[in-house]
């Protein structure tokens, strides 16, 4: 498990893909990514963890569940290699890997894996980097360990 914040990599200049558009609820989540923190929700009532952020706990219905830090460490649960993309920013990256990552201390999420497809298989251990793509938000991406 990584100690301390998750490394934040400045990609503001080179990233021309979509950027997060925080809604009321996700504003806090996205602003913390810029500080090297990747938060998931953990319900104080029932301990249920969930991602993406939602206004209620999907297990017990408690409103506004708490946030908790994750290490960003996980493993590849499944992946695909994309050979085409509708967005120009991703067309430049083809073929690129997208994976469902199972966080060791949290739920699953879908994320870009900026690595050689040959390095990736199901079960590959990965760690998170946060790509800062604008002033207020950093994207979670995963590299093989």
């Amino acid at each position: 498990m990584t100690d301390g914040p998750i490394p934040v990599v400045d990609k503001c200049e080179e990233w021309d893909g979509p950027v997060p558009e925080p809604t009321g609820l996700t504003a806090e989540f996205w602003s913390e990514t810029a500080n090297g923190r990747f938060l998931v929700q953990q319900c104080p009532n029932c301990d249920h963890q969930q991602f993406y952020p939602r206004i209620v706990c999907t297990n017990c219905g408690r409103e506004e569940p708490d946030w908790t830090d994750t290490s960003g460490d996980g493993e590849i649960y499944s992946f695909t290699i994309c050979y085409t993309a509708r967005e120009e920013a991703f067309q430049k990256l083809t073929p690129y890997v997208v994976a469902i990552v199972e966080l060791e201390d949290g739920p699953q999420l879908t994320a870009l894996v900026p690595a050689d497809p040959d390095e990736i298989t199901i079960g590959t251990p990965v760690e998170m980097r946060l790509w800062q793509v604008d002033d207020d938000a950093a994207l979670p991406v995963f590299y093989p360990v």
Partner: protein, 385 residues
């Protein structure tokens, strides 16, 4: 049961490319053809259902466009490609109340002419902020994530998936309306360009314009009509997630694990009783996982099951006998076309090898979203064709 609703009419609009038509034109043409097939006029209609349309109040538009006044049953619920199987279920329940006798269930699309739109991040949907930032803009990547996991857990191979495309093409070769009719081999599928690995171009459905419709009638109304009775003997629907596979409860099985057994139990049948299967085929994998989930084979055994032409004209489970979304047409929400073909097979409308001999029981299974919604309908022929 003699109380089961009957599908008395089916019809399609022109398929493929319809540059001079709107989605509602295609839905309306299909509707009147289905009514004509049933031997009914528009003024007999007292229920409308439509989904997948580019209108925020689609049943209001379809009713107005067809001049249907005061229908008692309306449904525009959008659950993707399985919406029409679900409409059959909800319309059937509504008929049981005794207020509704003739329901038109329709779909229309011009997605091929329109081309693929520019994706937008919907700030109103939190999951979009993550899935689309990862670069998964199209359903194919989401399906590929499920396929990869299935291969990992069960040893399913790309060649086994390809067999589904090959069997489906064999059926398409006998359907003059099918867009792709040339013979296909497993090697052709395997060597087609990768789209989102492990899925390749020939694992993916077509992009078509077109519409389809069916007319569901009460048993009382059916008795007035001169039509082979194709009855709805079981129907069930469910949903699991929206548009990102990390939210799917189990990446290798779908809601069909619930809707299959429920629909089969209502119908009083077992999977072995199914003569013809029409299974949503947005991708080859969709068929494979659905066959497992419906119980045609064990979980994880779908790869072996589809080997050797099981689903083709000489196989033990004739499947997607029009050529499916892979080879016949796929105007976005394919579920309506599964029901249309099931009805035609049960009526015995085809000649030669295209007709499944003595087909009396069919299953039409719709899938919507990204393996997200599931609807199973069991249809039974009553009497001789």
């Amino acid at each position: 049961m003699s109380t089961d609703p009957i599908i008395a009419g089916v019809g399609e609009s022109e398929l493929g490319k319809t540059p001079d038509r709107t989605w509602i034109d295609n839905a309306a043409v299909a509707s009147v053809r289905a009514l004509n097939d049933a031997g009914l006029d528009l003024d007999a209609v007292d229920g409308v259902a439509v989904a997948g349309a580019n209108d925020d109040l689609p049943t209001l538009l379809l009713g107005e466009y067809l001049g249907i006044d005061h229908p008692q049953y309306m449904d525009g619920t959008e659950i993707g490609g399985s919406a029409f199987e679900r409409f059959v279920e909800t319309a059937a329940r509504s008929m049981e109340s005794g207020n509704v006798d003739v329901v038109v269930i329709a779909y229309g699309s011009t997605q091929r002419t329109a081309g693929e739109g520019t994706p937008e991040i919907e700030s109103s949907h939190p999951v979009d902020q993550f899935a689309e930032l990862a670069g998964t803009f199209t359903p194919v990547s989401q399906y590929a994530l499920a396929t990869q996991r299935h291969m990992h857990e069960h040893g399913t191979t790309e060649a086994q998936l390809a067999e589904i495309a090959v069997s489906t093409r064999e059926w398409a070769s006998m359907n003059p309306k099918a867009a792709r009719r040339d013979p296909l081999t497993v090697d052709d599928v395997l060597s087609s360009p990768p789209v989102s690995a492990p899925l390749k171009q020939l694992d993916c459905c077509l992009v078509s314009d077109g519409g389809g419709a069916l007319v569901l009638v009460s048993p009382e109304k059916a008795a007035e009509l001169d039509s082979t009775n194709v009855a709805i003997s079981g129907a069930a629907s469910t949903q699991t997630h929206r548009k990102d596979m990390s939210q799917m409860p189990d990446l290798t099985s779908t809601g069909a694990t619930e809707t299959g057994p429920r629909a089969f139990e209502q119908a009083g049948i077992d999977v072995d009783d199914v003569d013809v299967a029409e299974i949503y085929d947005s991708f080859t994998y969709t068929v494979l996982t659905t066959l497992e989930d419906l119980g045609f084979c064990d979980q994880g055994a779908g790869g072996e099951f589809v080997e050797g032409g099981t689903l083709g004209p000489d196989g033990s489970l004739p499947t997607n006998t029009h050529g499916g979304g892979l080879s016949y047409c796929h105007p976005g929400h394919f579920g309506i076309f599964l029901l249309i073909e099931a009805v035609r097979q049960l009526r015995g409308e085809y000649d030669g090898k295209r007709q499944v001999p003595d087909a009396t029981t069919a299953v039409a299974h719709g899938t919507g979203g990204v393996l997200s919604s599931s609807s199973t309908v069991v249809l039974e022929r009553r009497g001789q064709p």
